[in-house]
Amino acid sequence: MQRRQFFKTGGVALMGAALLPQILESCGAGSKEGLAAMLDHFGVSQSDLKKVLAVALEKGAGYADLFFEHSFDNYLSLRDGAVNRAYANVDYGVGVRVVMGDQTGYAYVENISLNEMINAARTASRIASGSAPGAPANLTERTFDNNYPVIAPWEDVSVKAKMPYVQKLNDRIFALDSRVSKVSASLNDATSFVLICNSEGVLCADYRPMAILSASCVMEQNGKIENAYDSYAQRKGFEFLTDDIVENIAQGAVKKTAIMFEAVKPKGGELPVVMAAGGSGILLHEAIGHAFEADFNRKNVSIFSDKLGKVVCNENINVVDDGTIDHDRGSLNVDDEGVEGQKTYIVTKGVLTSYLHDRISARHYGVAPTGNGRRQSFRFAPIPRMRITYMENGNMEEQDIIAAVKNGIYAENFTNGQVQIGAGDFTFFVKSGYLIENGKLTQPIKDVNIIGNGPKALADITMVGNNCKIDTGAWTCGKNGQGAPVAQGLPSVLVKKLTVGGES
């Protein structure tokens, strides 16, 4: 019910600080390489797959695919100085999707047997009502570049080996500042085995690692309490854990919390906003990223539905959605419908050059899919989703951008954002930043929401820095009740005018 209501509000949201209850160790995961090993992993043969696909096309649909997934989530948590809680989840199943034009039939099963898969295919096939059955093409293996090779797979690593890093994170935070009174820290590692095949003959596999180390820190000063959070996420194995990342997170959490004591709420209203390099990519994610997802556009309900090929911002601006950055949280070797991971220019020299496509929208627009067809798990049909969304460098120094602002806001740390696709109104929550007064950063500020309108905000970007940074926090994007790991980045930019929350 929640899922439905969430969807119906048109809400798409990005959560940074939310710690999803993710998670332990596998119980016999099998080999991580090779298609034969993956078929073996799921106990299916190529002829089984073809049989199921044939049933899926039985009622005349034009396309069908199968998405097998076995995932292991491990979660270790520290409270009050001790790593004293473990949580783990194992999820296993296959989703059968049948597509007829823009229409989708979907069913999934948790017990992967030929009978159950055929039943699911029959259910999903009902989206079509023709009489002439289609025939699946012969399956051919596809392989892709590996954007996230793993040195030490998580399924081979004991909790015992992971615990010291979480403990060290706690100890470093306490050591860095005497005002620290509570620390909660956690390590989340996840491993997914994925096998995809479709009626057009694609057959491929992917092995997807993910790791997140995070800490939340509470400090007390003169009877006041503040907290903040920092995290680091990568698609890596156990080699992810190093003393360096522990130190970075510890320093990040302490710095972000300490600034809160000095910070005030600014006076609200329309102001120029300088977005700091990095996590500020949330601006792109909310202001244009979602509205460029092609499902909204083929349905004609996005504020950018008529903008393909048109100028949408300054001609020096290029915006990319990329699935190929090494080990990045948002990277994908292959998307969840068997399309190769790739780099897609969505704004080129100020012109909207491509939407973000899944197979359905690509067919609708007569273009090649862009590798954005993603799903939370086998329980969901894929939809267009972002990967790593960022703006390429401009030519300005950040200090010159700040110097150009008389009275404005410098937005640096963020927790979450949201957008209304049709109206174009988007928001992001600024955990901390600074006032800009006469071209200089002055008073720290905190806890304000900023709201704007996508096309206007994009057109209002008048200066772009040369310091693009991809944020490495654990961002999870929510859409239609599905979570997906994403990343974003931005060089420092000036947005001429946004509405900043605050006191009047």
């Binding site: 809680r85 199943g93 989206i127 309490i225 609200g268 109206a423």
Partner: protein, 436 residues
């Protein structure tokens, strides 16, 4: 082996293999979903699923594990691995199963959460509802771009058993019918709004009017604009009160308090809101969303005051936090929240506003859990001299939750009955709005 036997076996197996205490929960569910868009079926989906969650207490250490591979052979390996993993952790003596005296004893009346007809409703009838919701309005206004109608339903059950002698089962069904309408607005804008109805019983589901209501709600917001920043009265309708109540309730949870991550720390039995606010956890209302006899630990729910005339009456303290903080346990969280109602309906509340903004939706924003400071994006309508004047959007409200809830002007008499938090519309004084 049926599911109950499997869950009991899992507890026994854990005890035999090194755990001193254990709780298992077996959840099963099935669902279906139909979405109709404009002139055709857009999506159909059907599924059934099962999963086992198990919490293990091993030598004063604690871990919890879940899986949807519930074949007994797989589970043996899974449970053994969980015990081994738990054994590596640091000790945490506060982790215990509840005192059995606090368990629900199984003597309550049927809460009426299950529709016996669930399996006899034909798929075609469900699809027909989604289609009818679209057809109510599709083509009726040239500004309409797209109309979607959705029907979803599901049944779920959960069986809970532990090694301290608790055993209990919950079951429920639901039906949801929704519609959303997208229209041509000013410039490139395509404003959208929605409506829905949700019910536990098929016969109680409102089967028509959802499309029309979605269209009305979209039309009335056409021409939204940002208005001048300033202090306004804020009328939050009953659909949206949850957004500002939620951070207040979150601050009452033991997990937040124990981590000093709550602006309600040390505020028990003190005034935290206007004397107009009385909030009760009322868990046993028949046929009601959220009704339950016991919580995730098996602890019996009781009717309890949460806030009385603005004074905080309880925190939500489960067994673990109770031992950790050395305070008496209450319940892990509220079931059904009810308000003491005022005497005005929504129109009367509107009529009482001289200069204010009626909030019809929130857009992002967040609040600071240790200070209660908040800032949210909003949309709604300007009210002047008791009349709704024009739609507004792209604005923020900013303040502190204690000040906000301290400034209640009126509470409406229109609680939502289709949600576990039965929020009425509420009028607040003097809220900071940022716009032009």
């Amino acid at each position: 082996m049926n599911y109950k036997e499997l869950a009991k076996w899992a507890v026994q197996y854990a005890l035999e293999n090194g755990a001193q205490a254990c709780r298992a929960s077996l959840a099963t569910g099935s669902s279906s979903e139909f979405e109709y868009r404009d002139t055709q079926l857009d999506k159909l989906q059907q599924a059934a699923e099962n999963s086992l969650s198990i919490t293990l207490h091993v030598n004063n250490r604690y871990g919890s594990y879940s899986t949807n591979r519930i074949d007994q052979r797989d589970l043996k390996q899974f449970i053994k691995k969980g015990i081994e993993t738990t054994g590596y952790l640091a000790e945490d003596a506060a982790r215990q199963l509840p005192d059995p005296a606090r368990y629900y004893k199984g003597d309550g009346h049927d809460l009426g959460l299950v529709d016996e007809k669930f399996h006899s409703i034909a798929a075609d009838d469900k699809l027909a509802l989604a289609k009818a919701a679209v057809e109510e309005v599709y083509g009726s206004d040239p500004r309409i771009i797209s109309v979607s109608g959705g029907f979803s339903d599901g049944e779920s059950s959960s069986y809970l058993v532990d090694s301290n002698g608790f055993e209990g089962e919950t079951k429920s069904t639901y039906y949801n019918l929704s519609a959303s309408v997208s229209m041509k607005g000013k410039g490139d804008a395509r404003p959208e709004s929605y409506w829905y109805d949700v019910a536990l019983q098929w016969d109680e589901l409102q089967k028509s009017g959802v499309g029309k209501k979605a269209l009305e709600r979209t039309i009335r917001k056409l021409g939204q604009q940002k208005i001048k920043s300033g202090k306004y009265a804020m009328l939050v309708d009953n659909l949206n009160v949850r957004r500002i109540l939620s951070p207040l309730v979150s601050a009452m949870y033991g997990a937040a308090l124990q981590q000093k991550n709550s602006f309600l720390l040390d505020r028990l039995n003190t005034q935290i809101a206007s004397a107009r606010l009385t909030l009760t956890d009322d868990p046993h209302i028949p046929h009601a969303m959220g009704a339950r006899w016991f919580d995730y630990e098996g602890v019996a729910t009781v009717k309890r005051p949460v806030i009385e005339k603005g004074v905080l009456q309880t925190y939500f303290i489960d067994t673990y936090i109770s031992r950790k903080m050395d305070i008496a346990p209450t319940i892990s969280g509220p079931s059904i929240l009810t308000f003491e109602l005022g005497d005005k309906n929504f129109d009367q509340l509107t009529a009482a506003v001289k200069k204010g903004i009626w909030i019809t939706g929130f857009n992002g924003g967040n609040s600071n859990s240790t200070t209660g400071d908040f800032s949210f994006g909003v949309e709604g309508f300007l009210i002047e001299n008791g009349k709704v004047v024009k739609p507004v959007s792209e604005m923020n409200i900013t303040g502190n939750l204690l000040t906000l809830w301290g400034g209640i002007a009126e509470i409406g008499n229109d609680p939502r009955l289709d949600a576990s938090w039965r929020t009425p519309s509420i009028l607040f004084d003097n809220v900071d709005f940022s716009g032009l």
